[in-house]
């Protein structure tokens, strides 16, 4: 099998086009800021961005002018407040929004992954969400006639997920909070996995339960240490909560945000340069103490 390893620049250029629907998923954990910054540098436009929680990653992409539409379920800076660039774009009318609840978004990816025309869930009864989003509908059960809420499938053109490790065949392993990473990737037409480290195939094959996505569904593997900063990679580095707090003041002022993008995204040629500028000592300070689990023995069979 030929290696799926490529540079992030090549992977984004080959797999993402203007007008595409893009899902950079990862629920608070493993958010690929490295990939988002590469998309900004390549100047992609008119994207539909989908994510349960747009987070700083989409605030930055919206500020950079990459997006024309946002599909989401919770829009805020977790533990801090608002996402100001997105809020401004909504208020100016330059960003269309389509809003669900978390379970609604999860169900949309699940329908997309399973090639179903809709997905039923027990939600939205008595909520105004269905009034403002005509795609949240109801169907009667063919068994007992009971009505249930349904949401349509979501099939991103490209899903980008971050994970702890992968092998060259594209078998991706992640642990900690896995959110909707698997469903989003299985729903997508193309998948890029960005990982903290590339490991030998034997590391993956000695612990197959930890594999989030097998290589058959992954188009490219890109190795970018600290690629999820300021979000985190369980066991590798902590969430940079100070960065999340500082972002509030940066994104509040358009001029300051533009200067930040120039300095930290557009003016750099990749994640390694970002880590250099941040300071490798400051990055290292985010590393946790070790807390290894016991080993699991799958056995060797004759």
């Amino acid at each position: 099998m030929s290696s799926k390893v490529s540079s992030l620049r090549e992977a984004v250029a080959a797999n993402l086009h203007d007008g595409d629907t893009l899902a950079i998923e990862g629920f608070t954990h493993l958010i690929s800021f490295a990939a988002a910054h590469e998309v900004i540098r390549q100047g992609r436009r008119d994207l539909t961005l989908t994510r349960l929680t747009p987070d700083l990653v989409y605030d930055q992409m919206v500020a950079a002018g990459c997006a024309s539409k946002l599909v989401f379920s919770w829009i805020g800076n977790p533990g801090v407040g608002s996402l100001h660039a997105i809020r401004r774009a909504i208020e100016e009318g330059s960003l269309e929004v389509e809003e669900y609840s978390h379970h609604g978004m999860v169900a949309r990816y699940a329908a997309g992954a399973s090639r179903l025309p809709f997905f039923p869930l027990r939600s939205y009864d008595g909520s105004d969400l269905a009034k403002v989003n005509p795609l949240i509908r109801r169907v009667a059960s063919p068994y007992d006639g009971e009505e249930v809420a349904v949401v349509p499938p979501l099939n991103p053109d490209l899903a980008i997920i971050h994970a702890q490790r992968a092998d060259a065949d594209g078998n991706v392993q992640a642990w900690g909070i896995v959110g909707v990473q698997r469903e989003a990737a299985l729903a997508a037409r193309r998948v890029i996995a960005v990982v903290e480290e590339l490991v030998d195939a034997s590391v993956i094959r000695d612990d197959p339960d930890r594999t989030l996505l097998p290589g058959t569904v992954v188009d490219a593997v890109c190795v970018e240490p600290f690629g999820a900063h300021p979000s985190f990679a369980q066991g590798y580095y902590d969430r940079d909560n100070a960065f999340y707090r500082d972002w509030d003041a940066i994104s509040r002022e358009p001029a300051r945000l533009a200067a930040w993008l120039d300095e930290w995204v557009i003016g750099l040629d990749g994640r390694a340069a970002y880590v250099d500028r941040f300071g490798s000592a400051a990055m290292e300070a985010l590393r946790p103490e070790p807390r290894p689990s016991g080993t699991v023995d799958y056995g060797r069979y004759r």
Partner: protein, 246 residues
């Protein structure tokens, strides 16, 4: 006079509402502190479950967000959000959901979406997250929020998470849904819901009188059969809260 702050009174009162509970769906902030206090007092077997898919968290520090890595290390389980919202929450395995809101009405309808009209909001709030399905599928809901005539309103601007009836008093919860909001904890007191699903004053924090509650409510607040005077949190409870909140 109480030396507990308004937040500390809310944490203590919300923790008391969790007595004997096994599974609680929590967010960060006051609900998180309340659930942790309850786990160390009135609900020793309480398992904290977070929207991020973490079950049975034993955080070594107070989490900054529901996705804090300290929630994962030492937890009983992590699961995908499909399993959490599908098999766990929708499966009826969550006893109590704790929610906050910017606005609440007398029926317990919660707004976390917009102040003003949806298309042209005065304030755009974060939206549902998992709150809409938590409000419907948890076996019951405890709301923790600040109270004033801006938050305790006659009509919420948007129903994100449904209470006992529609804002005009019509309709009812679907047969499959949980019991809905059973308690609301604010800096002024504790509220329960009567047989008709309407909020009523059940308890006052130390130093608060009924006229203060009426002045902080945007509709005529009903009274429970008896209105309790909630006890001052003990020195031990206050010390525990201060350890938790840091």
């Amino acid at each position: 006079m109480s030396d507990a702050s308004p937040d500390e009174l809310m944490i203590a009162a919300a923790a008391a509402e969790l007595a004997g509970v096994r599974t609680v769906f929590v967010g960060i902030g006051l609900p998180n502190a309340s659930a942790n206090l309850a786990r160390h007092s009135v609900a020793a077997d309480l398992e904290l479950i977070y929207e991020s898919g973490v079950v049975g968290a034993r955080p070594s520090r107070l989490p900054d967000s529901i996705g804090d890595p300290a929630l994962v290390s030492g937890a009983a389980a992590t699961m995908s959000m499909r399993d959490l919202f599908g098999g766990f929450l929708q499966g009826g395995r969550i006893e109590v959901g704790m929610l906050g809101a910017a606005q609440i009405d007398r029926w317990g309808n919660l707004n976390t979406t917009v102040i003003g009209p949806y298309e042209r909001p005065t304030v755009r709030l974060p939206g549902s997250g998992g709150a809409c399905e938590i409000a419907l599928n948890a076996r019951r809901v405890i709301v923790v929020m600040n109270q004033s005539t801006r938050s305790f309103v006659d009509r919420v601007d948007f129903v994100t998470s449904p209470g006992h009836h529609r804002p005009d008093g019509s309709g009812r919860r679907p047969a499959w849904a949980g019991a809905g909001p059973t308690a609301v904890v604010t800096q002024l007191g504790v509220y329960h819901f009567g047989m008709a699903g309407e909020m009523e004053l059940a308890g006052l924090h130390p130093g608060v009188d009924e006229s203060t509650v009426d002045a902080g409510t945007g509709w005529p607040m009903r009274r429970a059969e008896s209105v309790a005077h909630l006890p001052e949190p003990s020195a031990d409870t206050l010390a525990a809260i201060r350890r938790l909140v840091g």
